[in-house]
């Protein structure tokens, strides 16, 4: 097949404040049922640079399954199990008046890194909100993976330990907490893709 020359991308624009009816009419925040034996709950609050909760944001997650395999044909590691019918790997949560979002999912397995070696278990995160003209992208890492986290190529590329720590969720017992600070001295580390 012939391909056209490289095309310039369509610019991003803010999601605005009125996306709920179109994007959040279905609840996609539970990737597995809450009574799933391996279910974990992740919750957090999105804050702006003034420390106020962002009540009109949308958080999306994308992750591998418990074995570390993505539900996408591009992930060709057929020795790992995948079951699209029961685990899509995608989730979406709005934020409420208090800026809070939540997901019920399973902890993903480790995934191969950019070179040799593995990445620590992590979840990809996109945040859209009224205001930001394009999404911000971050990752959720797990607090019980200290060894793998220390060797993770992405985490260890962040020099400042304070900044690096913003990507690791906090274990609250019944849930993992992952707050997202869009701006300010506690700002979460965001990625350029």
């Amino acid at each position: 097949m012939t391909c056209e020359p490289t095309l310039k991308p369509t610019p991003s624009q803010t999601v605005g404040p009125f996306f709920h009816g179109a994007l959040l009419d279905e609840d996609r925040s539970e990737l597995v049922p809450p009574d799933h034996p391996e279910a974990i709950r992740i919750e957090g609050t999105v804050y702006d640079g003034g420390g106020e909760p962002v009540s009109d944001a949308m958080v999306e997650i994308w992750q591998a399954n418990h074995a570390g395999r993505y539900n996408d044909p591009s992930d060709r590691r057929q020795y790992l199990p995948v079951d699209p019918a029961t685990f899509s790997g995608f989730g979406r949560s709005g934020t409420d008046e208090g800026g809070r979002f939540s997901f019920v999912t399973v902890k993903p397995g480790p995934v191969a890194g950019p070179d040799t070696g593995m990445q620590a278990p992590h979840i990809m995160v996109s945040v859209f909100a009224r205001g930001p003209l394009k999404r911000v992208v971050t990752r959720i890492y797990f607090p019980d993976e200290e060894g793998d986290n220390a060797n993770d190529p992405v985490l260890s590329s962040i020099v400042d330990p304070r900044f690096r720590k913003t990507l690791v969720a906090y274990d609250e017992g019944n849930a993992l907490r992952f707050d997202i600070y869009l701006q300010g001295e506690n700002q979460t580390a965001f990625f350029e893709l």
């Binding site: 369509t10 610019p11 624009q13 803010t14 106020e52 993505y70 899509s88 205001g131 979460t188």
Partner: protein, 263 residues
């Protein structure tokens, strides 16, 4: 309660009270952060004239993310089955909505010009009077009981999508003195991987409101601005029924997956 600068263009739009002098210049400035050659016409996070970016734009340097399976894969689509009338916003209620009936269609392509197939496109918009079906929209323009303003469809084998809807109206908001949003339709796209995820707005050709709209003007490159404007297309028009607009969308990245492997 005081209204902070970053909230003055809040969802209340015309319904919010004005407190304090937080007006911004109407003309866009070049006070921007985040421009790099790689941005390829993308807007910056911080665009001072769009007040809601001021407290919500990250300021720390972005971390370069190396390509791994975590981002070269992506969701097929983010929802359950598409309903039969989800792509026709004029037929989702008992009666027909008021306004100018239009067809919005185009192709979703990756950076190499390949069609993005079987990919979810979600849209939302104001009604013909410039009012959203949303409890926080208090613009005193009429709601239309026959229009919800939300639609979705999957792209076909050529990457094509198609919606029937009504042309949305312009509406006032609180960003600056006498601010009006140009008529627009919001679009949400997934593409072939996590990297290609895009939420944007489609505008209509020749809109006199472009000049004073900081969201449109946040894209500084003229050629990139034009990539957000649909073209009127007589070919897409259905005679004695609906005007046709064409809007092709190019997503970041390329589809590295061989055709036969795609879902």
């Amino acid at each position: 309660m005081t209204v902070r600068a970053g909230e003055r263009d809040g969802p209340g739009k015309a319904g919010l009270s004005e407190k304090g002098d937080t007006r911004v210049r109407q003309r866009p400035t070049d006070e921007t952060v985040g421009f790099r050659p790689k941005d390829n016409g993308q807007p910056p996070y911080l665009y001072q004239d769009y007040v809601a970016t001021r407290l919500r734009a990250p300021k720390e340097p972005l971390i370069i993310l190396p390509k791994t399976l975590s981002d070269t894969t992506g969701p097929a689509y983010g929802r359950g089955p598409i309903g039969e009338l989800d792509d026709d916003l004029t037929r989702q209620h008992a009666g027909e909505p008021l306004g100018e009936r239009i067809i919005v269609t185009g192709r979703v392509l990756d950076g190499d010009g390949r069609p993005v197939r079987g990919s979810l496109v979600e849209i939302w918009q104001a009604n013909a009077a410039g009012r959203y079906t949303h409890h926080l929209d208090r613009h005193p323009a009429p709601l239309d009981p026959n229009f919800s303003g939300a639609g979705r469809c999957l792209t076909d084998n050529e990457g094509r999508y198609r919606f029937v809807t009504v042309k949305p109206g312009a509406y006032p908001w609180k960003n600056h003195d006498n601010a009006w949003r140009p008529a627009h339709i919001h679009l949400s796209l997934f593409g072939s991987s996590f990297r290609s995820r895009l939420i944007t707005q489609m505008y209509f050709p020749g809109d006199p409101l472009f000049e004073q709209d900081p969201i449109f003007q946040s894209v500084r490159n003229r050629g990139a601005q034009e990539r957000m404007i649909a073209t009127f297309d007589l070919e897409m028009t259905e005679p004695e029924w609906a005007l046709g607009y064409k809007f092709d969308i190019v997503l970041e990245g390329r589809d590295d997956t061989p055709m036969e492997d795609r879902r």
